[in-house]
Symmetry: C2
Subunit: 375 residues, 2 copies
């Protein structure tokens, strides 16, 4: 199971796959919101539509549905979380595929050594797995960006807010010949204050985290340089000959529903999301406060331009630390039937674990109940 999939609750007699699902960070928390929307975000597609491979033959990304691209531009402008002007939109089968497309686009095709790929500890553990699983001669995972001392070219992954710990990040290397890719999957108002539009060379987003629609498998990159965008599209062409048009059209409808809900002032998705995340974090902090074993990161209060008020971060994952003499936090929690992902997977100490905050209400409630019982 991909590392993106971890949470709590072990069921008796569950199969391995079922256990994995229970550990997952599946963003099903937002399902309740979309149920309330009823038909307003429903899409109907007749059998004769979207048959061609091609969506926009004049575009660098020839498989990009123009309606989807338009809604991406409009939503970013509305939320103020990313600069889209003059950027190419490259659509992918989730931001996971776009991460690989970026590695392909930014690595020279004929270097004698593979390009180094790094990220500051603690880093999203799937980066390592995905970079290396095909033993590519183009790029190779080199681990922690802080300890990367080579003078050779590199790609630094900057995840902000960071997975697993939720902090806002900047590049930590800044050497000549270095490239950065900004994974901004969680830079949305339900998770963190929107302080300014992100403005980087390659920025990755995904509908899995922005609206909670993981099963549609749609991500997008905003790319400044035309040649990089062209090579990213080439990767996706060779890898999957483009991206489902149906999924792109469905996401267009969903992004439009989010934006229009805010514009007309009812069913505001980001308000709903922030309220829910804030409630969950309050509950978690309350339990942690009453138990000397654990600690959680503290986030500063900042002015959120989207909400127009001061607010703090409520990350999609809680980066929980076991204090004192406990060395293996994952094992401790497992013995209390709370499945988590241990720190070593993120290049960190096993005193840490990552816990998803995005599961369905009943699963989250069970997690809080079990954690409380450890007092």
């Amino acid at each position: 199971m991909n590392d993106d999939f971890y949470l709590l609750e072990e069921r008796t007699g569950a199969t391995r796959s079922e256990t994995e699902k229970c550990k997952s960070g599946d963003p099903t928390m937002f399902e309740a919101f979309w149920r309330e929307m009823g038909d307003r975000s429903t899409i109907a597609i007749p059998g004769w539509q979207t048959m061609s491979y091609f969506s926009d033959v004049g575009n660098v990304c020839w498989f990009l549905e123009p309606e989807f691209a338009e809604e991406v531009h409009k939503l970013h402008k509305f939320v103020g979380n990313a600069e889209t002007k003059g950027r190419h939109v490259v659509v992918g089968n989730g931001s996971t595929q776009l991460f690989q497309a970026a590695l392909y686009a930014l690595s020279p095709p004929d270097a004698s050594e593979p390009m180094s790929v790094v990220s500051a500890v603690p880093y999203y553990s799937s980066y390592a797995l995905i970079t290396d699983f095909l033993k590519s001669g183009l790029y190779k995972w080199r681990g922690d960006a802080y300890t990367f001392k080579s003078d050779t070219p590199y790609i630094e992954m900057v995840t902000s807010p960071n997975n697993p710990d939720g902090f806002i990040r900047q590049s930590v290397i800044n050497k000549e010949g270095g490239k950065t890719v900004h994974d901004l999957a969680y830079y949305w108002p339900q998770y963190t204050p929107i302080t300014e539009p992100a403005d980087y060379d390659v920025m990755l987003f995904t509908v899995s985290k922005s609206t909670g629609h993981a099963g549609i498998r749609i991500g997008w990159a905003l790319v400044k340089d035309s040649e990089v965008a062209r090579k990213m599209a080439k990767f996706i062409e060779l890898n999957t000959i483009g991206v489902s048009k149906d999924s792109q059209l469905r996401v267009a409808k969903i992004l439009r529903t989010v934006r229009e809900g805010h514009e007309i002032g009812m069913d505001k998705f980001f308000d709903y999301g922030r309220r829910l995340m804030s409630e969950r974090w309050d509950k978690l902090r309350e339990v942690v406060k009453s138990n000397a074993i654990f600690s959680l990161p503290e986030f500063p209060s900042e002015h959120c331009k989207f909400f127009g008020d001061m607010c703090t971060s409520h990350p999609a994952f809680a980066w929980l630390k076991c204090e004192g003499e406990i060395e293996d936090c994952e094992a401790l929690l497992k013995s209390h039937k709370i499945l988590t992902r241990g720190g070593k997977h993120f290049g960190e100490d096993p005193k840490y674990v990552r816990i998803s905050m995005l599961d369905r209400h009943e699963v989250f409630a069970l997690f809080i109940e079990r954690l409380s019982a450890m007092n």
Copy 2:
């Protein structure tokens, strides 16, 4: 542009991408059929559906929609073109992704040399590009299966009916340590007589060629061995964290529409497809017959168990040969504004070109008109 995209007709002033589109083998020919179906193959998806990453947590392929898998089984049983009993269905973002998943699954993870990947000439040219574009240490393209003399392990791609030439194929090597993957994208009744259910270890299919829905990006593999299926699913998990659920549900509806149309005896898709392919091949053969420059492959008449009659092949591509002193068939046709893909891309003589037979009516008509004018 992927090598799957080649056909005729160059427009004056067209951009590079537009020209590529005109050269494409986009299967838009079937669009007219689906338009006639009207709402019968329409699917509606509410905003709250398909949000989770997971589809079937107990399945080796945990992102497989059960409804899609069921329709795959039913359609193969109805058509009689593949044995599905006891097989795992692995869904992919088109058969292109499944081809890569098969290479990953069949290559040892820790061999000193990459696994050799071969296919008999003339082979589908994308195999070479896709196998090598990431310079994987797991597998490497070694070209023509006929000339593969090494005693090392290998994967042989067997495309049947073959792209580009339309012939039914068998494996040509059969050495110990060898694995075969059968790409059966064109083993459907509109293209070729269905003589028996295919019964191989790994069989690839795609909705692009079976029903013409290329833009949905759905393919499936039928896999005998559980461990191979598990590794193929692992590839797709690492590459794209699964496959769009919306697309799977839409394909389920389309496959059901095809099957039920035949069962109730109206709007029979495969009858429609065979009639159209047969008419197009008749027109092409007529033009070629009247012009000594060209020749086409001849196919035997065989008993088709699906239609219950004797019939011949009408492949999705025409493998046209320039006879006599003409060395570069692609260049000759280009000078008459017919864009094709030359033989060398398929490991063959440049006297050959591949021409898609699946384009829209008006494009095909233009092709026939221009070819006729060469007399």
